[in-house]
Every structure is written in C-alpha cells, then in structure tokens.
Symmetry: C2
C-alpha cells in the first residue's frame, strides 16, 4: 500500500511526459489510439463528495494526503475484517478483486483498440473470464471437497467431467470469436483476443493460486501479502531519508537505498510476523473437509512446520558455549522459510511494480482506474502481489510436503475396487520389503 | 494436409486484397507497420532449385501442383517413418515442429512491431521458449519416469525442485524484460511480451499435451492427427464436387457441403482406422517405465478399451432378431470413443483453420513461412491440430480412467514412511468396511 511512494511517482511523471512528446515517436506511430486518459477512468485525485465537502478548507496538497491516508486505513481495516471473517470471506474478496483487475486491464485494451463497432467484444471477454473462473475455481473445489461433493449425484457429474465441461465452454468462446470476425476489424479483434488471454493469464491464474495458498493455511496468504505491503512502505521511507543512488530508469524516484533498506526491513518484519502467527492454529491449519464433522474445519494438530524445533548453531558460533550460552536455538521451522519469502518479496516483488509502471507509461495512463480514492485502480495496489502468489505456491509444492495421506486416499478411492486392492497389495509388499509394516502390526 | 484447398484459397485472396485496400482502413490506421510480405518469408511458390530445373518445361500451374504433391507425399512418408521409429522419435519431432511454429509466429511479431533497435528482444523470446519447454517437458518426464529418475541423486534434486527451478528461470526472464525496457519503445516491448506469451500458450502447452497423449498410447496421437488430415482433404473433395452454399465469410471458398461431407467421411474413416489400430499392442499400450526391465516399455495386456466387448443393440433394432440377426454386436470400446474424436475434429477442428486464416488476413500475410515448398510454413499445416491435442487430453482425463494403481503408488512412495503406513491402514480399513479385503486374502 505504498501510498507515499505514489505521490512522488506522479510528481515525477508530469515533466517526463511533456518531454516524451517528441521522444516517443516510434511508439506513437504504432499506437494511433493514444490519449487514453480521456476514455479510461484514471486518477488518484477523485474523492467522494462528502469528503470533498469536509476537506474543502484544506490546501489542495494536504487534502490529497488526507484522502490517501483515510483510504489506506479503510483498506487495512477491511483486510483485517476479512481475515477475521475467515477463509470463505477471503475467497470471495479474492474473486471480487480479480474481477475488478480484469475489468481494469480489459478496459485499457478497449480504449487502445477503440472497440466501438467491434461486434460482441465486451460479451466475449466476460465470457472468457467466467469460463476460466469456472475452470479454476472448480479445480480448487474438486481438489479440496472432492470427497464431499461426490456424495451428491448431480454434483458428482460436474466433478468427474469438470475439465471436459470447461474445455467445451472454452471451445464455445473460441468458435464465437471466429464467427464474430469482421473483415474491417480483423487486426483489432485478434489484438484484443490476445489482450484478453494475457489478462486472464495474469489475473485468473494468480487468483487461483492465491486461493490454493489460502487452503494450505491462512499464514501462507497473510504473511506474503503483508511482506509486499511492508516492503512497499519501507522502501519509500528509506528512499525518502537516505535515497541518493537511482535504481532503475523506469521509475526515476526509486533508489538503491530504498531497495536495500526496504529489503532488510521486510526480512525483519517477516521473521517477527511469522513468529507471532505460528502460535495460532487459526492461521496455521490447512482448510480441510472433515469427514467426521461433515463440514470444513480449520482445527488441527499443527504440522512440524509450526512446532518449535531445536536447531544447533553453526560451529563458528558454538564458541559462545564457553560463555554459558546454549549452542542450540529453538525456532518454528516456518520462521526460517519466511526468510525465503521475504527475500523474494523484496528482491523480485518490486519488479512487479516496475512492470506495471512501465505498462502504464507505455499506454500513457496515470493509473489503472479510479476505484480507490487517493490510490487509483485496484491493479495499482496489487501490482507486486502477482508474482508473489505464484512463488508461494511453487515454494509450498517444492519445499513443503503437501501430499497428505488423506488427499492421496481420496484419489485412491476414485479407482475401481479391484485396482484399489491391487494398490493395497503393492503397498503392503513395498512396506514389508522395507520392514516398516511389522513395527505397527 | 489440404494441399488442394490451399490453391483455391490463394486464388480467392488476390481480388479480395485489392478490394480491401479501401475497406480495411480502420485496421491500417492501427497497424502502421504493414506490408509484412517483404519482411516475413512467406509463400507457397518456392521450390528447391533441383525441382525447378526438372520441372521447368511444365506450365506454371502444373508445376505448382507437382511440387505440392511431391511434398505432401514426402510429409506423409516422414510421418509414417517417425511412427515406425517409435515414441522417442515422435517426441523429438513434436519438439522440432513446436520450435519452428514458435519461430514463425514470433517472426511475424518482429515484423509487425519492427524490432530493429529493440534491445534483447530476440534473446528474450527464445529464453522464454527454452524456459517453458524446460518446465513442460520436465513435468512429463517427472510424471512418467519419476520413480526411475529418483535413483540418481543428482537428478533427484532436479525432480523434487522442478517447479521451483522453472519458476526461478521464468522470474529471471521477467526481471530481464523489465530491465531491458527503454522509454522510446515501451509500447512495442509490452506488445511483443504479450505476443511471446500468447505464442507460448498456443505452441508450447499444446506440444506438451501432444506428448502426454503419446504417453497414453500411440493410438491417442495417430488417430486424432489423421482425422484432422482426413477432414481437411475430404472437405476439399466434397466442396469441389458438390459445394454450393458458402459456410463462413472468413474463408469464402469453404462450403456447407464440404463441411458436412468432410465430417461424415471423417467419422467413417475414424471408425475404420480405430478398428484396425486397436488390434496392435504397439499402438494401444501406454508407454511406461518398467521397474523389472529397467527401461521404457510398450508391451502390455491391452486395457478393456481395446478388448472386443459385446454391446446389445438398442431395442428398436432388436426386431432384426426375427431375421436371425444377433441383437448384440462385438466392438472395441475405443471405436465408440473414436466417434467423439471424429465429431470434434470435423465440427470444431476447422475453426482452428478459420482462426489461422483470419490471423493471416489480419496481418496481411499469405502464409506463416516458406519451409515446406508448395505448402507454406509449418503453422499452415498444423493450424487445426492445436485444439485437437487439448481435446484428446481432456477427453482421456474425463472419460478414460487414467489414474493407474502404479502411478498412485509412486506418489504414495514420495510420502514419509510413517505417512505411508497411515495411508496403508486407512486404505485397509476402508477396504474392510466394504468387504473387499476378505475376497482376496
């Protein structure tokens, strides 16, 4: 929520775009369709009229700060409220944010390619959004509630043929697109088709991964999101007080000092936050469907990741032993993993922001939208979160064992009875060969 | 390999593009960069000089036919040779074709956005191609050879962290892209970035799915590919002899008669071809890593899908019984499944071709390339195959049970020993509750 950084950014943009009028000629030739600010609703200066009225006596600059501040606090409160409400509220929020992001990206596309006259295009892009959400949200539900859903005959069909139904829906959209092609607009239509697919790739797949992360335990969602927010703010603070060396041409106001200071702060913040959250089963337990309770639960015996573990210090530190300091240390393993997350969020995370700001400059827009007064569009607030969600997901599947016996069992129960028996005997043999079975029998 | 249809298409294109000079104005404003035919190598008229020499006495029109014919036969022979050589040769061919297709699509992008001066762009798009191939080919290898690969310590790391490594490689490309952004070219660079990603989406994911299909048994690859080829040719033949009613504005020479005739022929051809191929284990067996042999094998007891099964005829046909005709029929179940495949390939398949021909018209190019004399580019020959690969894959996972006990066991063996035991006891209990276990014990 780098509300501070933003102001500096837009200060910097004004002179630059004046200068770019004669430099960007190559780009201008290509995009005959510029001056999007007229067609795309964009801007951070808009505020609700009640606020405008209350703040009318303040000088312009201060008014802007107050609006930004108020809406930052509102967003953070809303975020906390949603977390308090639990995973279902989080998932719905993720869906709403995803739809708004898609809308913002696609609206820019409409403006760039001036779609008036393009047959069916608005309907087509929303159709693709719905189709891909059907596919991805379905995949999640099938993964986590497959066993429960299978009880109901009607839903069983939807589960078994989920991919097939999704693919047919997609094919429908594809055929519809081809049929909607009109000679005069071929190139625009293909460009928007590509634009829609890239938007889907960025927005829908990410929100799918975010929801997958939430299912693994709220901590896998809250910690990474907070890290990005922290890094955003602290990079601004360090840049403001110590910033000298420019970091990247794309965003002239970003400095190495801010980048490094923000990074170090994020690592420390991440360690502390993880340490606190590890202690609450509410954050730590995966969301699973409980057969016995017949509903979703978030109660569990915390996995080894969230149980204090003794680590022996590296040998060069064990000299401390002579001073009576223990040479082991007790830590939640998750706290160590949080190191990787915070390093990623402070090294690669900002590039999501650079990418978005490059994109905005390419199409000469100030913000992605104007939904959040003082902040711009939803995409402006979530630009750095996108890579993070994928990273967390890949990290979990690579370094944290996720295949639980329960999940595999539900897969086994999909097999035909004779295959289940075959698997049973193969497993039995394998366990016996390794002398594992006698121990428990 | 609709070599015939092609000639008619290009005949039709000449007058149309003359007319379009004043109609396509909307598109022309947008794409200041047209006349790509000068920069993209395109055309069906080029032939190797030896052939040119041999055929120099033939009239122009005939010469073209002979070249097309010769190269059609060469392609079919090559295809048969590759099938004869086995799955490894097929996979390598799929990879080579994929790379060529990517190159053709990306070259058009380069021409559209005139990349001279764009820093790093060629390297970046090839980097993304290599990265995504690393990811997708790796996923296949992990899926099918995971157990075998795990024997080697070094490879074990590559398997366990496959997604993580791939994601890091991707992030590297992403950061590289952001760092390569240059003010003058922002919009071009973002457009090409999107272009590259759409090309990857079309080409790499499809070739991944094709290889997955090959692993399920060669029949899942050969039958669908041949169906598309058959549909292409037969639609031309029927259109040529009976064609009257135009089908779609996009391709003025396609007719409903060709569409329907081609469809019916494809269904019949598919039934016959499936019937023949079902009898050979070579085509029918999935490619699996055999623990006992220590290598890939394609020998198996054909699954139920490929064993003759008695079907009782629908009751309204059972009146035939009075004439002494049996009211059951013996069929390979796969032959019935081939019906769905052939219906898809003749109803939706052609839309892949329409899409590609719309794309070519959008960018005013005649063909995607000039690699195959008389035919154009590789993409021109494979345009209808793309949706088909996905369809087959989704079809297999929805209607043909693919989770084999072997595959699940290898997943189970990834668990920790105590979790394996836990799963074993849960499975045992579940089997006992259903009275399945006593039968075999």
């Amino acid at each position: 929520m780098s509300e501070f950084r933003k102001r500096k950014d837009s200060d910097a943009k004004a002179p630059e775009s004046a200068e770019s009028d004669h430099v960007d000629s190559e780009d201008d030739k290509l995009g005959a369709s510029m001056n999007l600010s007229k067609t795309v609703p964009t801007g951070t200066d808009k505020a609700p009229s009640v606020l405008e009225f209350l703040l009318q006596d303040l000088p312009e600059k201060w008014r802007n700060w107050v609006v930004r501040g108020i809406f930052s606090l509102l967003m953070i409160s809303f975020f906390l409220l949603v977390i308090y409400e639990g995973p279902l509220a989080l998932m719905i929020t993720a869906l709403v944010i995803q739809v708004k992001c898609f809308q913002e990206i696609i609206n820019i596309g409409y403006a760039v390619y001036r779609i008036h006259g393009l047959p069916w295009f608005r309907s087509l892009s929303w159709y693709f959004l719905i189709t891909s959400n059907y596919f991805f949200y379905g995949e999640n539900l099938v993964d986590y509630f497959g066993v429960a859903i299978n009880r109901t005959d009607f839903l069983r069909g939807l589960v078994t043929y989920h991919r097939f139904i999704s693919f047919c829906l997609y094919c429908g959209g594809f055929v519809w697109f081809v049929l909607s092609l009109v000679k005069k607009y071929y190139m625009k239509q293909f460009s928007l088709f590509a634009w829609t697919h890239v938007a889907l790739l960025i927005v829908v797949t990410q929100s799918y991964l975010i929801i997958k992360n939430i299912f693994e335990g709220l901590i896998w969602f809250i910690v990474p999101v907070s890290m990005i927010i922290c890094n955003d703010i602290m990079a601004y603070v360090f840049g403001f007080f110590f910033g000298k060396t420019p970091l990247i041409k794309l965003s002239p106001k970003k400095t190495w000092e801010g980048f490094i200071g923000g990074g170090i702060s994020t690592v420390i913040f991440g360690l502390m936050m993880s340490y606190v959250m590890c202690q609450y089963p509410y954050f730590v337990c995966p969301i699973e469907y409980s057969e016995t309770l017949g509903r979703m639960t978030m109660e569990c015996e915390p996995s080894a990741l969230f149980r204090p573990t003794e680590y022996s210090l590296p040998s060069w530190l064990s000299v401390l032993g002579v001073f009576g300091v223990s040479n082991t240390i007790s830590l939640y393993p998750f706290v160590l993993h949080s190191l990787s997350l915070s390093i990623f969020s402070s090294v690669i995370g900002p590039f999501g922001g650079f990418f978005a700001s490059g994109f905005k400059r390419a199409f000469k827009i100030k913000d992605f939208g104007d939904v959040i007064p003082g902040h711009g569009g939803i995409m402006d607030r979530f630009d750095c979160q996108f890579l993070m969600a994928t990273f967390v997901n890949v990290y979990i599947s690579s370094f944290i064992q996720t295949d639980s016996p329960q999940k595999l069992l539900s897969q086994v129960l999909y097999l035909k009875p004779e295959q289940q028996l075959q698997l049973f005997h193969m497993l039995k043999e394998s366990l016996e060969n390794r002398n594992l079975l006698e121990l428990n029998n």
